[in-house]
């Protein structure tokens, strides 16, 4: 498949061929009678020129179809680029969500651990209130 010739190259080759044939025809027209091509050869040359001209026109039609397809390709590429942007955006949001969630889970874990610690050594609420009164009575910031 990769050995297929591009339409651009094909068109340029045809133009080169047409140029060569034209040069031959013109040289033949200005050549002296002794050097002129014979009748059948000359008609072969002109037939070849006409055939090349037709080939050129067909290839130009193909080029026009390809230009049409190229427009569709451009639209598709734009769509794919948009999807790429959306995917990148979504990826960033997912990463952010992952970070926030992992922080939240860590903090919830800490809270659970401190709840477990508290449950291991329960303290009655009257004792807590007594301590609180003593602390505020002496204007301290922690228990003595």
């Amino acid at each position: 498949m990769s050995s297929q010739i591009s339409t651009k190259e094909k068109l340029l080759y045809i133009i080169d061929d047409i140029e060569l044939i034209c040069k031959e025809i013109i040289e033949n027209a200005i050549a002296p009678k002794s050097a002129k091509l014979s009748g059948p050869e000359y008609s072969q040359l002109t037939d070849l020129l006409v055939a090349k001209d037709n080939e050129l026109k067909e290839t130009l039609n193909l080029a026009s179809e390809q230009a049409h397809i190229n427009k569709k390709l451009d639209i598709l590429k734009a769509e794919v680029d948009r999807q790429d942007q959306d995917i990148n955006h979504l990826q960033k949001q997912l990463k952010e969500a992952e970070q926030i969630l992992s922080t939240a889970i860590y903090q919830a874990n800490q809270k659970l651990q401190s709840i477990a610690r508290a449950n291991r050594r329960p303290v009655s609420s009257e004792e807590l209130i007594k301590f609180a009164h003593r602390i505020s009575a002496s204007n301290a910031i922690c228990a003595p």
Binding site: L49, Q83, L90
Partner: protein, 118 residues
């Protein structure tokens, strides 16, 4: 083909050419050159010099038209590949677009955080 040659509007903002902008009529020029070369042989001297000038002008014009055609062909859009390669590229892009859209659909509309009540 859906459009005729006369219906393509020229696009001034687009540097690219359409095929219809090309002037690739070689055969009429060649015919005129050959005719004027052959006419050459039948006239007197004054007409001959004029005709040969005419002739060389036409040959130059032919050369110019060929070169211009080459330059314009290089500017045509979409012909860097053969038609088959281009169509394959189109299919590949379509598949890529479909896959990416499905991916986005999947992640936008899934509900990972529906907590199942025990």
């Amino acid at each position: 083909m859906d459009h005729g040659p006369e219906e393509q509007p020229p696009d001034p903002n687009n540097k690219r050419l359409t095929v219809e902008d090309l002037n690739i009529e070689i055969l009429p020029l060649i015919y005129e050159i050959i005719r004027s070369i052959e006419k050459d042989n039948h006239h007197d001297n004054t007409a001959k010099t004029r005709d040969s000038q005419d002739c060389s002008q036409k040959v130059l014009e032919l050369q110019k038209r060929l070169d211009q055609a080459r330059a314009e062909i290089r500017m045509l859009p979409g012909i860097e590949y053969s038609k088959e390669q281009q169509l394959n590229h189109l299919e590949a892009l379509k598949t890529q677009l479909r896959l990416k859209q499905e991916l986005l659909q999947k992640y936008r509309y899934m509900y990972p955080f529906d907590i199942q009540k025990p």
